[in-house]
């Protein structure tokens, strides 16, 4: 047992830090610090810088552009990019469909899609959720009927994040209506420009347009866009969802958020002195820090175990708490940040919702505080709500 980073790991961390410092455009970083949404251009810009460096898809096999880093280095990289902060790569391509393609796709698919994902030439979105399904993903109804060399897709997806920018969508569709729930589902890649696809925004309570509904009406999808075997899509989806484990805790992001809270609490006044000098406020902050420090170690335990095992096989039981605790901490930071703003959390900075151009009220940095709190209620809902996570732990870990 040696609970310190090796000197090689420390050197690697410094290399990452230097790279971020040198290469990430300052205005992109500032947007992240201010809690603003990334524009499509921002993410494309950064992804291409990464791709040029060879760091666009660190965890992929080297033959497809991966870096060959062990899990600990991958974690250090993740942590540093979140802390700086730098934009996180578009997960739908890099973490989701990419690994599905290189694991289950054919050679032609690999050759075509993977480099385009790494360079963010294609913006991917995820077509899994459907209205009314919620955490019961497998109850999906969107149908794909084979007609010659095409599937004809009809149905609706929802909660489709950033579909408004998307070039492609990967979908779970029902190809065998007779089969029972999890069977009869296939994994299709669909060009968003195909006729019959309509994207409608869902405006969330923070006023942002992050998610969408996607409607499919007689959408013709070439059979070559099927990944793996027909009716085996549920297996690929499970594989995909299983890969979300490491990133879910977002320890680096919460560290950055806590630093931001400290900074802004040094600017906002309370009882005639900076709020950060207030003992009660400091205790609330310290309380979250303790949770986060523990979670960081939990995360490292999982990563180290993965490193030992080569990231296969049964995960450390501790990994199951990453989602629950990670989301609780993220939500706690958004609440603290809103609290920092006091009455100045109230003004609404109308963004892309109603088209008005009213300016944010001073202080500028207050504008995203309440929306951030509202928006982050999602992290205990999506990806299997925290209640579902607890069901899973009760069953899989505790045997109840």
């Amino acid at each position: 047992m040696d609970l310190r980073y090796t000197s090689e790991e420390l050197a690697f961390r410094d290399e990452v830090r230097q790279f971020l410092k040198d290469k990430l455009p300052a205005e992109i970083r500032q947007k992240l610090i201010d809690g603003e949404h990334m524009d499509k251009d921002d993410l494309v810009t950064w992804s291409r810088i990464l791709n040029e460096k060879g760091w666009a898809v660190p965890h992929w096999p080297t033959e497809y552009g991966g870096t060959g880093w062990d899990p600990m280095r991958q974690y250090i990289y993740l942590e540093e990019t979140q802390k700086w902060p730098a934009p996180q790569p578009l997960a739908f391509g890099v973490n989701m469909v990419g690994p599905v393609i290189y694991t289950f796709g054919n050679e032609k698919q690999k050759a075509h899609y993977l480099p385009r994902i790494a360079n963010l030439d294609d913006w991917w979105c995820q077509g899994f959720s459907e209205p009314g399904a919620g955490s019961d993903l497998a109850s999906l109804k969107t149908k794909a009927v084979r007609e010659g060399d095409h599937y004809v897709v009809n149905g609706q997806k929802t909660w489709t994040t950033l579909a408004q920018h998307a070039d492609w969508i990967f979908c779970l569709v029902r190809t065998d209506p007779e089969a029972k729930k999890q069977s009869g589902i296939s994994f299709l890649l669909i060009d968003m420009k195909t006729p019959g696809i309509e994207v409608r925004p869902i405006i969330t309570i923070d006023g942002g347009r992050e998610i969408n509904e996607v409607f499919f009406t007689d959408v013709k999808v070439p059979v070559e866009n099927l990944v793996g075997e027909e009716n085996k899509g549920w297996d690929y989806a499970k594989f995909l969802l299983g890969n979300e484990r490491i990133n879910i805790a977002r320890v680096g992001m919460s560290k950055q958020r806590l630093a931001r809270i400290r900074e802004l609490a040094g600017k906002e006044m309370s009882s005639g002195r900076p709020l950060i000098e207030d003992e009660r406020f400091r205790e609330k902050l310290a309380s979250v820090e303790i949770d986060l420090k523990a979670l960081e170690l939990t995360q490292l335990r999982v990563v180290a175990a993965d490193a030992k095992r080569g990231n296969t096989g049964k995960p450390d039981p501790a990994s199951s708490i990453l989602k629950i605790k990670g989301s609780e901490i993220q939500q706690a930071t958004t609440h603290l940040l809103m609290q920092v703003m006091g009455p100045h959390a109230m003004p609404y900075h109308s963004g892309d919702m109603d088209g008005s151009n009213e300016l944010p009220i001073e202080p500028d940095y207050a504008a995203t505080a309440a929306p951030g709190y509202f928006n982050f209620r999602k992290v205990s809902i999506y990806g299997g709500s925290n209640e579902i996570q607890k069901n899973i732990i009760a069953k899989a870990v505790l045997g109840l």
Binding site: G134, D136, I202, G207, Y348, N375, R377, S385, N386
Partner: protein
């Protein structure tokens, strides 16, 4: 002790609820919000016709002599409807300041205009660095003949844009955080030197930043010692906000329980899952406790004992703050994704509930204020 409404109070509640039921559906509210002012002029007139504006003013001033209980009834109903009109700004905040500080002549002039709906007020007390401290006042008042001239900046003035007159807290003497030397002043919103920039708030209401550059003003009460009146005003407002909160919370709870019964997952109504049931019960417990502490705040809202009244408001605002958070966060969690969309009512309630905590001091602020005193039960 009697917790039942009188016949008149029941009538008040029933007729207001009927009006809101007819005119404040989800789509109707959306339309009201889309008005340039951010609320419905028709609803405003309807409230005036019902006598709501006149309610808390003394009969000799042209009001109906209602007690804090009537205000509680009205605010709970407005909370349930997420009503957008500047009732709170005009009648509770502005009107509260008049009741606490204005002279009989001033009241005789203004109250009838409030009562008939022709006068809207706002209270400008928050400043950039005041946070929740009422005695933190940088805005200056200088004597000018019989009147005063105000200079300074006010932030997050609720419905400051719609107000015809604005009651401004300004300093006539002393340093920024002195408790003495604070006065209440009334200015005309159209006065020269006053500029205002309105904007929407996170909860769908409106507020404004107000700049005052040598703006002519009239004092309400003692310009050198207005803090007690301001505190009385805000204490009354906190009791009213608590009542609004009960309306907001119980509406969220109703929506959530209904949703649990209707929404199916894994083949059953999700309300069959014990964990979700218990979360709905946690909300219920929070609401009943909020309702109780609101009754306490209402009982104390017009108390002459300023210290005891303040203790009650600290307790109420803290309880509302934390209970509202339990209620709001669970409401969203139990709704899942749909609760986070603008298309469902529950998210709007959640946002209002969240913003109430940022008004007049959040739960932590009031907990500390209460803790610095002798305790809620010492006097008993």
């Amino acid at each position: 002790m009697d917790f039942d409404l009188s016949e008149e109070q029941t009538m008040l509640k029933d007729s207001l609820d009927r009006l809101l039921k007819d005119s404040y559906g989800f789509e109707q509210r959306r339309k009201h919000m889309a008005e340039p002012t951010g609320f419905s002029a028709e609803m405003w007139d309807a409230y005036a016709e019902m006598g709501l504006m006149a309610l808390p003013f003394a009969e000799e001033d042209g009001g109906l002599g209602g007690t804090p209980v009537e205000t509680m009834i009205v605010m709970e109903s407005l909370g349930r409807a997420l009503a957008l009109e500047p009732y709170f700004a005009t009648v509770i905040l502005g009107g509260g300041a008049l009741r606490a500080a204005a002279s009989a002549d001033q009241r005789a002039e203004l109250v009838p205009q409030i009562a008939d709906g022709s006068l809207k007020l706002a209270l400008a007390h928050t400043e950039r660095n005041s946070r929740y401290d009422l005695h933190h006042v940088e805005t200056k008042a200088a004597k000018d003949g019989d009147g005063w001239r105000l200079t300074g900046q006010k932030s997050v003035v609720l419905h400051g844009e719609a107000a015809d007159r604005i009651i401004v807290v300004a300093r006539t003497a002393g340093d920024t955080r002195d408790e003495n030397g604070i006065g209440l002043f009334i200015v005309d919103a159209a006065a020269e030197g006053l500029t205002r920039r309105g904007y929407p708030t996170q909860d769908g209401s409106r507020a404004a930043e107000i700049s005052l550059d040598n703006v002519p003003a009239e004092a309400l009460g003692d310009p050198a010692n207005g803090l007690p009146a301001l505190r009385a005003t805000i204490d009354g407002a906190i009791a009213a906000l608590a009542a609004e909160s009960v309306g907001v919370m119980s509406a969220m709870h109703d929506l959530t329980v209904d949703y649990l019964k209707v929404r199916k997952q894994f083949g059953v109504a999700i309300g069959a899952f014990q964990v979700l049931q218990h979360k709905a019960v946690d909300m219920f417990v929070a609401i009943e406790q909020a309702r109780s502490i609101t009754l306490y705040a209402t009982m104390m809202a017009d108390s002459e004992d300023a210290a005891a009244r303040a203790q009650a408001m600290h307790a109420a605002k803290a309880e509302i703050g934390r209970g509202g958070r339990v209620c709001g966060e669970n409401a969203i969690q139990l709704h899942g994704g749909v609760g986070m969309t603008m298309e469902y009512a529950v998210g709007h309630y959640f946002k209002r509930m969240t913003m109430i905590d940022t008004q007049f001091g959040d739960a932590d602020f009031h907990l500390r204020a209460l803790a610095s005193g002798q305790g809620l039960f010492e006097a008993a």
